[in-house]
């Protein structure tokens, strides 16, 4: 066991001495999350909205005009029934639906009290909150103008914001789980395969293999530091997502961490597999980038929604582990579901890990000879 720890300590020296690695490790998630923050503020200008106006009165019409001339909103669709709302959100363009009940104008003019409903797409909670806030303040300022100063019983519009659950959760919320999947893959798979290839390249691998360390000890010694680092990184990304971007954590934190570990383990298995094939750092790097990172970025639904891909690519996306991990993270954080709902995705990840780990261990055997 002491031998093993001597080995693990050496790995930490390598990591610590390699400034670039440390920078990539901990800088990347931060940069990505901040970039995402910018993307978010851009999105709020000209957000597309839909209107469901049962009233068709003068006040509802004026409020709609106000909203559209504010610069924040653009009308994408006018709806005719409640049933259209879900379909509209599902398409992913409309972030907010403004609903005027029947008799809105009448109630407002005669009773002095009327109600507006704001339905926002909750899959992008930050956007949703900002948009309902803007809309509310525009409606309230309209209301204030209607009231004569110092009126005894002022007119009131009560705004009722509601978050509507978007079952497909397209858009920005995919981003954080996507970044997480990418960073974990990068750290676990790319870095392990590169460090193993480095030992082969410099010749130190031979010296290790001649030592009494078993091949398994060498491998797990290589893997352990990156497992810890990746896990730390995963936690940082989750924390940034929750505290900086306001993603809710509706499900179990423990389950989320366990699934994160599972995904890290899978990525490490992939890294090991690559390192059994790659003899040089360059090959390891390209193999990792081409075989893993690119497909993860383009086929996991992280940037391009899977539903809008060509059939063939949709099919290929089924073997991209990140796809399942992203679903799991979204499921736990946003939908708040547990293993009862996510067992299928989890099972896929477990089987993939077992398969990859099995192949890499099998591949490794002949190298001893």
């Amino acid at each position: 066991m002491n031998r093993f720890f001597a080995f693990v300590r050496k790995e930490f020296y390598h990591i610590q001495r390699d400034r670039r690695t440390v920078l990539i490790l901990f800088g990347m998630p931060l940069v990505m999350v901040i970039l995402f923050g910018f993307a978010l503020t851009n999105e709020i200008k000209n957000a597309q909205i839909a209107v469901l106006d049962f009233d068709h009165g003068q006040h509802s019409q004026r409020i709609i005009d106000r909203l559209l001339s504010s610069g924040y909103f653009r009308l994408r669709q006018s709806l005719t029934s409640y049933r259209d709302i879900e379909a509209t959100f599902r398409q992913g363009h409309v972030k907010l639906v403004v609903v005027f009940p029947p008799n809105f104008t009448n109630d407002y003019a005669h009773d002095g009290l009327a109600q507006v409903q704001l339905l926002a797409d909750a899959s992008e909670q930050n956007t949703a909150i900002s948009l309902t806030n803007y809309a509310t303040s525009i409606i309230q300022s309209y209301n204030n103008e209607q009231n004569p100063p110092n009126a005894a019983s002022p007119l009131q519009i009560s705004v009722e914001p509601r978050m509507v659950f978007n079952p497909d959760l397209k858009g920005a919320f995919v981003f954080v789980p996507g970044v997480m999947a990418m960073v974990l893959l990068l750290v676990s798979a790319l870095m392990t395969s590169v460090t193993i290839a480095r030992e082969k390249e410099t010749g130190t691998m031979e010296v290790l293999l001649v030592s009494p360390l078993s091949q398994l000890q060498i491998l797990f010694g290589k893997v352990l530091p990156y497992l810890l680092l990746s896990f730390l990184n995963g936690c940082i990304i989750i924390a940034l997502g929750i505290f900086l971007l306001g993603i809710p954590l509706n499900g179990s934190l423990l389950l989320l961490l366990a699934e994160t570990l599972l995904f890290i383990f899978l990525s490490l298995s992939l890294g090991l597999l690559i390192s059994t094939i790659a003899e040089t750092q360059l090959v390891a790097m390209f193999a990792s980038l081409l075989l893993m990172l690119m497909p993860t970025i383009f086929l996991s639904g992280f940037i391009f929604p899977i539903e809008s891909m060509p059939r063939a690519l949709q099919f290929i996306s089924q073997i991209i582990p990140a796809r399942y991990f992203i679903d799991i993270v979204k499921g736990i954080m946003i939908k708040g579901v547990g293993l009862g709902y996510l067992w299928k995705e989890t099972l896929v990840l477990v089987s993939m890990s077992a398969l990859l780990m099995g192949i890499s261990l099998h591949n490794l055997k002949p190298r001893l000879e």
């Binding site: 031998r3 130190t204 031979e206 000879e369």
Partner: protein, 244 residues
Amino acid sequence: MDKAVITNKLTKKFGDFVATNEITFDVAQGEIFGFLGANGAGKTTAIRMLCGLLKPTSGDARIAGFDVYRQTEQIKQVIGYMSQKFSLYEDLTVRENIRFYGGIYGLNRADLKAKSDQIIEQLNLGSVADKLVASLPLGWKQRLAFSVALVHNPRIVFLDEPTGGVDPITRRQFWDMIYEAADRGTTIFVTTHYMDEAEYCNRVSIMVDGRIKALDTPSGLKRSFGTDSMDGVFQILARGTSTK
């Protein structure tokens, strides 16, 4: 078993290419055995088989009595190895390298400390003990690598071109260390391209194209080839094949 290494028709083929061809020799315990040959003669391949890194295609070999096919774990305990490529970690300090290699050979804390201090003192590396190995001159690195290969007091140490690329004085210092280790009873198995170094060995084998063409003491070789230098012996053997 008083032989450190015994081989019998040890052969390695890479596809159709025969890298070492039925080599048979033995090395006595405590001997300094020079393993000579031109580039590509098959020296590294032979060493890698003896260390358990490569599986022989055919033939037998025993290291300290242990079979290279079945007893690789026991062999690992009794050998040290300095590979032809550089075998220290450039991004670790001198002390960290010593502690690492000592650590993976199972030395305990106290031994590690004593060993590091001893090596650093012996090699006069006190002022650079906490500097990265990358910053050391090549000759120092090689001597450190040799000390590290001996950190667990192996019975046999394999040195694959340990002195490549350094000046004669530095090589001389390296050989002083080899003699010290041999005096303590360590068997030295060393490959080299330098003919002056061949003179320092107890016995020398010369490999040409995968075969051992000559094996004797340096003086014996010079006598039987009728020249007065190892260089002459080597020239005759090498020319012999190139004109064939």
